[in-house]
Symmetry: C2
Subunit: 139 residues, 2 copies
């Protein structure tokens, strides 16, 4: 994006407003990091990034805010590792390649990957998503 901090801040505030999220100081700080960093991030990495030495936001707030953003569709949770929540700023439909040796996580465009033969489900059941994870390791 390469915005000046104030421009970025205004964009974040606008984006939160669009999703009916009160733009509190902590949420704006977190939003500024999310719109200006790696696509895939854990709560711990984000905490580090937000605080950068000083103490801006607590760990609990980072967790709660990530959960809030995800529930509003600003983020998507990627489940590739038990015991670690990873959030993805790319909310478009897509899949992942996960390197279990390095922890590296890469996107695969959804359009590139076609799945056929999905099961027919009961009417009382609704599909919320189809997640594909290609697990790889260093040869």
């Amino acid at each position: 994006m390469n915005l000046y901090p104030d421009q970025l801040r205004q964009r974040v505030i606008a984006r939160l407003a669009q999703n009916s999220i009160n733009p509190t100081r902590q949420r704006v700080e977190i939003g500024m990091c999310l719109f200006d960093c790696d696509k895939h991030i854990t709560a711990d990495q984000l905490l580090e990034l937000v605080n950068q030495g000083r103490h801006e936001v607590s760990k609990a707030t980072v967790y709660n805010t990530l959960g809030l953003f995800a529930s509003k569709g600003l983020l998507r949770e990627v489940v590739v590792d038990p015991g670690k929540q990873i959030f993805d700023t790319n909310t478009a439909p897509h899949h992942h390649v996960y390197n279990t040796d390095t922890g590296e996580l890469k996107d695969i465009e959804s359009a590139d990957l076609v799945v056929s033969g999905l099961p027919v489900l009961d009417e009382s059941i609704e599909i919320t998503g189809v997640d594909i994870v290609v697990r790889v390791k260093n040869a």
Copy 2:
């Protein structure tokens, strides 16, 4: 299977031996439960099942044994929920339907589901598995 306990025990011991696993008392107890229970199980559920009131095996040992069995290919770990390891006694290639409302996990035969367009990977990288999770909720 419907075996008498002693027959089951012998089968478990044989299966462990095939995979170079020492058949200790704890491992055999755990193996007997795994070959005689639901396909999908967490460490906690297994602990409950193994002990059935009395104290046969500790929690740590259940975790370590599940990890050991999985590393030897007797079990497969299913990653559908962060913060919970689920193990699957079905080690054949297949996929899953996960109901996020109920926690229910069902198999989809691998043959029924076809994926095309997998990315071309570097030679230094090796695919260890392709996991597909269809996430559903009650409508």
